[in-house]
Amino acid sequence: MRLANRPDGFGPVTRLLHWGMAAGILGMLAFGLTLVRMRMSLATVWLFGLHKSIGITLLALALLRLLWHRVSPPPGPLGGVPAAQLALARWTHRALYLLMLAVPLSGWAGSAATGIDVVVFNTLTLPPIVPPSEAGAKALLTLHHWLTWALMGLLALHVAGALKRSVLARDGTLSRMVLGRR
């Protein structure tokens, strides 16, 4: 099986990364929103560790995805739509990449600033990327909060765009991300 992307289609690595991370990120958004509304106790406090562990995994996958797309560039968009729409899609993808890095990094930095270690799946203790400080913790976790809202807004736009092309225009945009071909 050919793993790489082709000029006219997405290879399996890109598709797996796209859908795996999509599931992970959507799940983490719901998880995070639930987490901050829960009444914590000794029985539930480990959920913070799980949120951080999955978030760091998604950060690693985002870096892997950027690296993979250097090795094997994804195909350009299908034509047939106005240039402004293509530009919007391109900038949305760039902003999504930025947020795939900035959301977990702000979570990591905000956690480090509280003075609590970030321990990935109870095994790997990450270095604190910012020194502990009260002002830093508040600012960075507020940033984490607003970046997740920016991510939700962009995702709504991204999904709307994908559905517009696949359901309304039926031009194969979705199927080539799902199946690799139109």
Partner: protein, 194 residues
């Protein structure tokens, strides 16, 4: 049990003390650090977080004759505070609660001592995170296990008090962890020199 067997005597009080004590004036005591414990407890949802803080220094002058001569000064090491689970200890020492990196010491200095039926009420100034607030400890004094009834050279003092942590700016995780931190201190002291 030691406490049941122990004779409760009035700290700095008059009248109920053995004759030997009332004739004594100011006595200095040193804390028996290994036999003493500063414990705390706070609410964490339906559960509790408990832990301890080591005492770095304690100066006690007890005058069983003249109330005004009593003086207590205690310093705790915030940077070595413990908690019942690892993340809580890091949170406790971190910048959102004790801020031990910038304020490694917690201090208490008494300002006035009032006798009660079972011991004493100790008013003083408590400093946490560099913020000083008035604070009250309730003390009960016991003889130490195995000492004679009139022996005041070795004492066991139980102290309780409630710290409202937000008053000291220790506001971290306020939505999950209680504002009231209940102190439970067991201080065993031995008389030194004069």
């Amino acid at each position: 049990m030691r406490l049941i067997a122990a004779l409760t005597i009035l700290i700095c009080g008059l009248g109920t003390l053995p004759a030997a004590a009332t004739s004594a004036t100011a006595r200095h005591y040193a804390l028996q650090t290994e036999a003493s414990l500063v414990g705390y407890e706070t609410d964490f949802g339906p559960d509790k977080i408990t832990g301890t803080m080591p005492v770095t220094q304690a100066d006690l002058t007890l005058d069983f004759h003249t109330l005004a001569n009593c003086h207590v000064a205690v310093t705790l090491d915030a940077s070595k505070a413990t908690a019942s689970f690892p993340f809580a200890a890091q949170a406790l020492r971190g910048p959102l609660v004790l801020d031990a990196a910038d304020h490694p010491q917690i201090t208490f200095v008494s300002t006035a001592i009032h006798p009660t039926d079972t011991g004493a009420i100790i008013d003083g100034d408590l400093t946490i995170r560099g913020v000083t607030q008035p604070f009250t400890l309730v003390a009960t004094l016991y003889r130490q296990h195995g000492t004679a009834t009139d022996d005041l050279t070795h004492l066991e003092i139980h102290l309780t008090g409630i710290v409202h942590r937000s008053a000291f700016g220790a506001t971290g995780w306020a939505e999950m962890v209680g504002d009231d931190v209940r102190l439970n201190i067991v201080a065993r002291v031995a008389q030194t020199g004069a």
